[in-house]
Symmetry: C2
Subunit: 450 residues, 2 copies
């Protein structure tokens, strides 16, 4: 993309109403625009990152054997009356009356709809195990939306639901989700720690929240610092293997790590003192096993191998897709702006032309642009007639992890400059070497999309 043809409305001043850094930077970098309290338009740069995150989530869910689909945002109230949650849910549910006076609602979550899909189509244990998921907009009418996309009212979320014959199978599905979530967050450059959590209104005997450590987190968390040494890496996992998934769960959850809802001071005190940490975290996902709660109330039953009708065991599993943008920025920024991890950056590399209009510089930039584009990468070429300082400031603010700087002086020596946004370190090399370097960096970060 050439910046002269893009829509990137960056702001020089910090918006006064934004309290946390991710909200400030998303507004300043022209990623979002507020349309109403907690409701945002995703401007082109924000939408690009949102889509990258969405694609990573899809890839990892499909890798785990989960099946994508999509539910409508508007749902009939009657389904929620069946489960008993229509009255329970309270004012966070956006209730709507259609033109015929029928009670509808904007789905805040989808246990009812998915259970209805299941019971209408599945009747035999032979069709199990089954995990269906979607990434779709949801609405929760928060009384005080704040922190930008971190606590919005309309938000984008992956929600998945497993249907299993037995509790044992459902716990394998639970573990499979845990493993796939670890992979998902790591691909986004995030360390999200699974912490023992509380079931809350969805209910759930087993549940973990995934938390990203950040000063601005809404939750207080307590953990053994040894959990932050764990990484999933690119280990091969057979998602069908009960042992392998269970093994990963044990590895990542055996150390103390809890939110304040489940914190137990006595157990925490057994952690060696030098490893005890109290910090704040941002919740970016949660997994639940809740047994037969919805299948009983809504009649989602199958015939088992002995011809008996039994309610299926279910769980639901969420990733806060739009919220992740905020969480990533909270975890990765400096005073000059955002620092995108390579896995989710909106453009792979910035190209800054120090002297637009200079024949050699223009030509070199065009050649870099073409070479990177032909390699399947997306560079952002700042081809505007602006001074270099302004161009650097914009690139720093929007946070592309790599920048190639091209100027007449360097070109005389046959070199351009490649700069890391994270370290600030620069290296001179030939344009060909610069292209090769950027291609190599992104080799492990290809997202195919869906």
């Amino acid at each position: 993309m050439r910046l002269s043809r893009y829509f990137l409305p960056v702001l020089k001043e910090t918006p006064s109403d934004a309290q946390i850094v991710s909200h400030r930077y998303m507004l300043r970098a022209g990623m979002i625009k507020q349309q109403a309290a907690g409701i945002y338009t995703w401007l082109p740069l924000g939408f690009k990152v949102l889509r990258k995150i969405e694609n990573i989530v899809h890839e990892e869910q499909i890798r785990a054997g989960h099946i994508p689909m999509q539910m409508a945002t508007i749902q009939p109230a009657d389904l929620w009356r069946e489960s008993g949650r229509y009255d329970d849910y309270g004012e966070e549910m956006l209730r709507i009356e259609d033109r015929h006076g029928r009670d509808m609602l904007y789905g805040p979550t989808n246990e009812e709809v998915i259970t209805d899909v299941f019971r209408s189509n599945v009747s035999s244990y032979k069709d199990l195990p089954l995990t269906l998921y979607q990434i779709q907009w949801k609405f929760r009418d928060e009384i005080r939306p704040r922190f930008g996309v971190m606590r919005g009212r309309e938000f984008y979320m992956k929600d998945g639901y497993n249907f299993d014959l037995t509790k044992e199978d459902a716990l394998h599905a639970y573990n499979r989700h845990l493993v796939s979530y670890l992979r998902t967050y790591e691909r986004m450059g995030l360390q999200a720690i699974p912490m023992r959590a509380d079931g809350g209104p969805i209910g759930g005997d087993y549940t973990h929240e995934f938390l990203v450590l950040a000063e601005t987190g809404e939750s207080e968390v307590f953990y053994d610092s040894a959990v932050t040494d764990l990484t999933f890496g690119d280990r091969a996992i057979d998602y069908d293997s009960v042992e392998q998934c269970q093994g990963v769960l044990e590895e990542f959850t055996s150390k103390y790590a809890r939110t304040d809802e489940t914190h137990d001071e006595a157990i925490f005190n057994e952690v060696p003192e030098e490893r005890r940490r109290v910090a704040r975290g941002i919740e970016v996902g949660q997994i639940f096993y809740f047994g037969t709660k919805y299948s009983e109330s809504m009649g989602a039953k199958v015939i088992d191998s002995e011809q008996k009708q039994v309610p299926v065991h279910m769980g639901s599993h969420g990733i806060g897709v739009s919220r992740l943008l905020g969480a990533i920025i909270e975890a990765s920024h400096d005073d000059n702006g955002i620092i995108w991890p390579e896995g989710v950056t909106p453009f792979h590399c910035g190209i800054v032309n120090l002297k637009q209009g200079d024949e050699a510089a223009d030509e070199a930039c065009e050649a870099l642009y073409k070479a990177l584009t032909n390699a399947g990468l997306e560079p952002l070429y700042d081809d505007r007639k602006e001074r270099a300082g302004g161009k650097f400031a914009t690139m720093d603010l929007i946070g592309l992890p790599w920048r190639i700087t091209v100027g007449p002086r360097g070109l005389k020596n046959g070199v351009v400059e490649v700069t890391s946004r994270r370290t600030g370190e620069s290296e001179e090399m030939t344009p060909e070497a610069a292209v090769a370097k950027i291609i190599e960096i992104y080799e492990p970060h290809r997202v195919s999309g869906l």
Copy 2:
């Protein structure tokens, strides 16, 4: 995907409430499930096609230089009061009150929001031309939703908006959209004819609807049969070239082709009688130029080169993404089911194992599955222990354009059978040749996604 692990709830019986063939087949093939009148859950097979169509639309919009973004579904009523449409829009608008009693609505279209985005961020003619678009869910509270996804209440649509300094520039944007739409529909295997249309509630001096001919179409259309001979093909277009885009528009709109709203019997009678056609069509897109209608009422102005404040010239341009599934099926099916065009098929190829459990057959199927998958294609392998007839019926119903049939008898001669869904013709060849053939067929139909 192995069918034994997929969620494909096909129905044997034809649902009684579905009046048209696309609705019947989408229900029978397990693509959608109705949740309320005009509101559907997109089951896995339906979601796959929806996503393919979405990706083609994205690719072609980006190719034309248009910039993707995303607006929220829920909008404040105040923006619509500014444009004067809040009261005009009538009962089709889903009106909502949030917990604080503020008037909101579920966006049926987005001229107001996009104009607000524009006026908040653009103030100089130097930032023009600009075309922003999104693909997002919309809601229109139709009094009588019908025909499945063809006239639903919640529907998925691409809506794009151009902002230009002059009428001339805006008409180039109009032409650019026309060209990109022609490419888009052809990639989906559709012939969509641009027809002169009526502005309707959005207003518009220039507007064309794109119609797919089908007996079940809601609109009566009148055209010169010569328009159906036109194809866009894979001609190279420079979307910046005013002449090229204008040339395509003239080529595709100079022959008589109108909906009943703009039909003129006198002009129609000038078409040679043997080429006069009266038929029915399904609207799958519409482009508008409406000048300064919204920019005046909402104050979307820029400074021109003479420092004068002028309202921008706008247009809006839509493609009915979810409706397209219905339109494609109406245009491409037979008595046994859907026939997907290669560009949008949910799986590229079916693999039918005639004798599941036979060692040679199982092995050959696995090898085919692996080879196709490694080539970046998605086969659907029917690995269930079912009789061949049932497997064929399912493949025909869900409409994969190509099928490879594998059985012990053929394998003894070293061959499998490749069958075209469209022609029904089969050809025997080695498994290697079958893989090569399928790969070659899909070479021109790669979609990279977004």
